[in-house]
């Protein structure tokens, strides 16, 4: 276990890189996923098709394949960029499919009378969704969204394998194979790094849930 103290700066560096990946991907997938959920309940058939097509593709494809397609497919067609943003993009596309479905379940839980009343007072579809339905829907989806985001934090380890480097996963590999530390000690450190991310995320979500809860 001495490795955790000896190599503490490296762990901190890995932790911060993982945190950066997760923050960008979490913001991206929450925004994109909510937008897609809007598409899926929209009155316009093409938008619904885009929404359900996106979910079908990205929810059913292994994350490693999505990341592979982004990191190696895009340069193949002439799009060059940093692997960090390729990784964040891939993770966002994948996670947004799950966010979309969680948000859609929340939209479906809002009584239809709410939307009907909103339309009756002359709100447009976008206004109905953003001002009436989504604020109620998002309350009920805090627990499932929390699970999706925590799963995303753990999935970010796969991003580390696609050229990004410097994240907790890569730190673990560097310490075990290049510097020859015993795997159990190194991986305990990596585990602690992820727990420092996921446990507070869970606590924060529980707090949000309490704060947004409605007395029923």
């Amino acid at each position: 276990m001495g490795v955790i103290l000896e190599q503490f700066p490296l762990y901190v560096q890995g932790f911060l890189q993982t945190l950066r990946i997760c923050v960008f991907a979490a913001i991206g997938s929450l925004v994109l996923g909510t937008l897609l959920a809007g598409f899926r309940v929209s009155p316009l058939a093409p938008l619904r098709a885009v929404g359900s097509g996106w979910v079908t593709v990205f929810r059913n494809t292994p994350l490693a394949v999505v990341l592979f397609a982004v990191a190696f497919g895009l340069p193949e067609v002439g799009v060059n960029g940093s692997y960090f943003w390729f990784g964040v993009t891939g993770l966002t596309m994948y996670t947004s499919a799950f966010v979309c479905e969680a948000v859609r379940s929340g939209i479906n839980s809002v009584a239809p009378g709410q939307a009907e009343a909103a339309r009756a007072v002359g709100l447009t579809f976008s206004q109905t969704l953003s001002l009436v339905v989504l604020p109620q829907a998002l309350r009920t989806v805090v627990p499932p969204l929390g699970s999706v985001i925590i799963a995303m934090i753990k999935n970010s380890a796969i991003v580390g394998a696609f050229g990004v480097g410097g994240d907790l996963y890569s730190v673990g590999l560097q310490l075990t194979s290049a510097q020859g530390y015993a795997a159990v000690g190194v991986l305990t450190g990596v585990l602690l790094g992820y727990l420092v991310l996921t446990i507070p995320a869970g606590i924060a979500l529980a707090a949000i849930e309490r704060r947004t809860a409605l007395a029923r």
Partner: protein, 298 residues
């Protein structure tokens, strides 16, 4: 009776397969390196030593890489081939163990120490750089070869001339996560310009598509990639580290270590070391290296 009929058919089929396999085992496999070193006959060793145990067992378990062109690459015939494998054969031969009695286990970089500590292999010959950190867990015989870290770039690249030119060119450099070269190169490039993958083939792909400007690792590994690129890549040709490749054995087995060092010295003297190089890595790097002086065993 339908079942027993089926069973008979299955038995005949199994027998045919077994016969075919047995035949395949006798013929020399394509791509194997010539006759190999001469196997010592009737060797005896001091009782209780590793050599004695292995010679009596008549077999040795060797950890090597299965994905390392020129050094340890598992071919379509299921047998690894390369310079590391030939070195293992030389040591096996000195123990009186013929090449076909060597059992190979894949030992990728991350699990070599574990394979030795958990007694899954008797020795590891897997482009295994000797360093102090690894010496805390395993002992090394050799070195049997000194590799050095180099850079591989596109053939038309003239701006990258060595590690010192990387910063000026703001070059992105690719290497493999957790490899020694990936740590060394951090002196020459910023973290943001370092791209890490799990295998070198991905680095080669990234170099081809322009995602990175250079790939760095030991020269021999790069030579394999240059050969495979059919002229698209070239080596910068400026080694900036010394990577002594050793043979990993259980920690503290001094007698086995000394035995291996003697075996290597003999192989260099009788030409089997050179033959091992010529038949493998010599295809890309014709200059046969001289056997480096052995480190003291501990």
């Amino acid at each position: 009776m339908r079942l027993s009929h089926l069973a008979r058919v299955a038995a005949v089929a199994a027998a045919l397969v077994l016969t075919a396999t047995a035949c395949g085992g006798q013929s020399p496999s394509p791509g194997s390196a010539g006759d190999g070193p001469t196997v010592a006959q009737d060797v005896t060793f001091e009782a209780g030593t590793t050599m004695d145990r292995l010679a009596k067992a008549g077999t040795i378990r060797v950890g090597t890489k299965f994905d390392q062109p020129l050094f340890g690459l598992k071919g379509l015939d299921g047998k690894p081939a390369g310079f590391d494998v030939e070195i293992a054969k030389i040591i096996g031969a000195k123990l009186g163990i013929p090449a076909d009695k060597i059992a190979y286990t894949e030992t990728p970089s991350a699990t070599r120490e574990e394979a030795i500590e958990q007694n899954r292999v008797d020795m590891v010959v897997a482009t295994y750089t000797i360093n102090d950190k690894r010496k805390e867990r395993v002992s090394f015989a050799g070195p049997y070869y000194i590799a050095g870290q180099d850079l591989m770039v596109k053939s038309d690249n003239t701006t990258i001339t060595g590690p010192e030119s990387l910063k000026a060119a703001n070059a992105k450099v690719c290497s493999v996560t957790g490899s020694t070269p990936s740590v060394t190169i951090q002196e020459y490039v910023d973290q943001a310009n370092l791209v890490l993958f799990d295998v070198y083939s991905k680095c080669a792909d990234a170099l081809r598509t322009g995602q990175v400007d250079a790939v760095t690792t030991d020269n021999v590994i790069l030579l394999g990639l240059v050969e495979a690129s059919e002229g698209a890549f070239k080596l910068v040709g400026k080694q900036f580290t010394e990577e002594p490749y050793g043979i990993g054995i259980p920690k503290g087995d001094v007698k086995f270590c000394e035995f291996i060092n003697t075996a290597l010295k003999d192989a260099a003297a009788d030409g089997s070391y050179e033959a091992a190089w010529k038949s493998t890595a010599g295809a890309v790097s014709p200059q046969t290296p001289t056997l480096p002086p052995a480190d003291p065993c501990s």
